[in-house]
Symmetry: C2
Subunit: 124 residues, 2 copies
DNA sequence: GGCCTGCATTGATGTCTATCGATGTTTCTT
DNA sequence: AAGAAACATCGATAGACATCAATGCAGGCC
């Protein structure tokens, strides 16, 4: 699987001070907007939810995701690719099937970025 | 000012169980996607940041927002409208000027929706 | 090898969206 | 009332995006 994810909400570096902390500069805004744009589609949001509801370390086979939508298989594959490029999920092929999972900590870091009280650590 | 905001991340009703709690149904996903889509643009994200960094109850005049971008005044007005329709901000005219503010609790509720640990109450 | 299954990629198409100039609306000032 | 200033709305346009059918590719099975 290709390696072309963002590192915005990336790892530990905390991406940025938080939406309410200080005005974002153009670069920060551009990077973060990609992540929110990825979540800004009903299909992708449901995909994220389907994957994330498996819990930390949980995985979902594409063969379980595709039939959950009234959409063609290429379309689902396209949305999964966008979520992956946004740095939200990753995948691995095992035999015939491909499994997706939510990159650890990403959602909590995003939440910390949005929260006004700024109390979101690394999440561990 | 017109009243056409969403009520997704609305008030107290907590919108939904959380992204990782259970798979979202189509309606929840459609409503929430509108909010994330509103944040999925660099200009709107910077606008939100400019407004939100004023703190709770803080306001910003459009006349301060527009010159912060290399964009025409109608374009900024358009983005502000989208943010308002997404239920993220509201505005009020006072004299010649129009002031925008972040709707109270919206960002924290969004953060609570994204967080995997689910520890975001009503905020207040 | 040959075939089938699961998923990704490609190419095409209709729809949405970001942006602008022009114009309308509201308010203040004189 | 007339003019100016601050925003919003309108109409047009170029670029982006969601979607599909067709095809490609990898892995399991006979």
């Amino acid at each position: 699987m290709s390696k072309q994810e963002l590192e915005v909400i990336g790892q530990d570096a905390a991406c940025c001070p938080g939406l309410s902390a200080a005005p974002l500069d153009e670069d920060q805004a551009a990077d973060l907007a990609k992540v929110f744009k990825a979540l800004g589609d009903p299909v992708r949001l449901r995909l994220m939810s389907l994957i994330a509801s498996r819990g930390a370390g949980g995985e979902v086979c594409v063969c379980e995701l595709t039939p959950a939508f009234d959409l063609s298989q290429p379309t689902i594959s396209h949305h999964l690719k966008l979520l992956r490029q946004a740095g939200l999920i990753d995948c691995e092929r095992r035999g015939t099937w491909v499994y997706y999972w939510v990159l650890p900590g990403v959602l909590d870091r995003l939440a910390g970025f949005l929260a006004t009280s700024q109390t979101a650590g690394t999440g561990a």
